[in-house]
Amino acid sequence: MSTLAGRGISPRQAMLAVAAPVLGLVAWHLSTSGRAFSLIPPPWDVAVQWWDLAFGGVWDDLYSATLLDHTLASLGRVYGGFALAALVALPLGMLIGRIAVVRDLLDPSLQILRPIPVTAWLPLAMIVFGIGPRSAFFLVFLGAFYPILLNTIFGVRSVEGRLFEAAAMLGVNRQAIFWKVVLPASLPSIFTGLRLGLGFAWVVIVVGEMTGVQTGLGAIIMEARQLSRTEIVIAGMVTIGLLGFVSDQLVQMLGRRLLRWSPQHG
């Protein structure tokens, strides 16, 4: 058995991975620091601001030591919206994928709704769900919903016909086919959908928190923008990037465990 050859990262890979951000930082530093006037703050100022946001003790203003609260608020919305999206999109996708009537009923409408960007839903969401966290939650839900739905539909529809024959020949009855064949066979696609969905949940969190919520990483970014506190904007961006990255790594780890059998994941 040849697979499972080291999942670890080689020193070379690690160096290459770090090289691009370091170059970016250097370029950023060279183009912003030491200027009399720059709209974009230099990296060091951002780092100091991030520290103050996280732990306080530098500026001691309204924002000091509030990062945890904002992060928790955003995490709640991202994972809550994502979980709700999964809860709706997984069964719906399976129904659309496996049952022709449901597909004929819902697929055309979903095709029309899908291209509408989450941003465009913002005003309507605020009318329906009011100003505040419920609208934010809905927008994150929407961002995560379509990738999960589409990949689930694709997954359950593209089960190799041969596997149905094999199962029937081995004595699986019609009711058990779904659990014994369709579901496991479509897990890689479903997993891809979940991973993309969670990614999109992070992507739309800032839009989601443009709905007038007080806390959240998106909320402080929008607020800091109005106050021209660009260091806070960038500190918030960096935080979202890091959280999104960590969250994706966790999902991938889970995927590697659950989908050990799949050459693409295992």
Partner: protein
């Protein structure tokens, strides 16, 4: 077979295990229908090893898939122990050329799939799986996933899977067609050995004359356009058979001629 149990086993032994009666299969092709198989009649006795041989497109897979219950005859009747075949079932195990293994299950789980699906107790499933994994010589790979196996190993799993499911008839559609010559020979020998031990009934599709002569009690020769059975030859040679012996060669020539002389560049013969 239930409706016969009242009459007792003597009746049952008089019946062929498989009875293909004047079966024709037509497929829709645009708005026409073409006959993939025309008026095929064939009786297979329990324990027989029959090879279906013929050029590609002559309906071998179609016939085998009808026996498997994956297709229904357009005309004629297809009986197992005197009862019409209605859909796939565990009594007829199919070994597909492309294996058809469940990629998310380990070797042992694939082999135990049938018994598990039919609700056998866990311990029994595990024991059955282990026994047949051992039978096909994959003990060390019991916990490997299909993507970690070579083609020959995958085909062994596919064979173990139908054996573990207690199939009475094993249907094999060019099972060794995708394997290298060395692996193919080994699997042929292993298959014969398992068949001799279990007294399974095997219907084995191939387009290789030599493979048919090495394996079969009976070679059913088919010809295309439309697909039909043109000859049914007994192979009486003792096993293991020596492909270099004169008898083997005589059979090879004979079957080759029956197949229309494709292998000797002769004009097709009418039968």
């Amino acid at each position: 077979m239930d409706d016969l149990s009242a009459v007792g086993t003597p009746v049952r032994t008089m019946l062929p295990i498989l009875d293909v009666r004047n079966v024709t299969k037509r497929f829709a092709f645009g708005n026409e229908s073409i006959a993939a198989l025309s008026d095929a009649t064939l009786r297979i006795e329990k324990g027989e090893f029959a090879c279906l041989i013929g050029p590609s497109g002559c309906g071998k897979s179609t016939l085998l898939r009808m026996v498997g219950g994956f297709e229904t005859p357009s005309e004629g009747a297809l009986l197992m122990w005197g009862k019409p075949v209605a859909g796939p079932g565990p009594d007829r195990g199919m070994v597909f050329q492309d294996y058809g293994l469940f990629p998310w299950l380990t070797v042992a789980q694939n082999v135990g799939f049938g018994p598990a699906a039919r609700g056998r107790p866990k311990a029994e499933v595990a024991a059955t799986a282990k026994r047949f994994v051992d039978t096909v010589g994959l003990t060390r790979f019991a916990d490997a996933y299909p993507h970690q196996l070579s083609g020959g190993m995958k085909q062994r799993v596919a064979i173990a899977r139908v054996l573990a499911n207690d199939a009475e008839v094993v249907l094999m559609d060019e099972p060794f067609g995708a394997l290298d010559a060395f692996t193919r020979e080994r699997l042929q020998a292993e298959l014969l050995e398992i068949w001799a031990r279990t007294k399974l009934t095997v219907i084995f599709v191939t387009h290789a004359i030599e493979e048919a002569i090495i394996l079969a009690d009976r070679v059913v020769v088919m010809s295309p356009g439309p697909g039909r059975i043109v000859a049914d030859e007994r192979i009486a040679l003792a096993r293991p058979r020596d492909p270099t012996s004169p008898e083997f060669n005589a059979l090879r020539r004979h079957l080759s001629a029956l197949l229309g002389g494709h292998h000797q560049w002769r004009q097709p013969r009418r039968w």
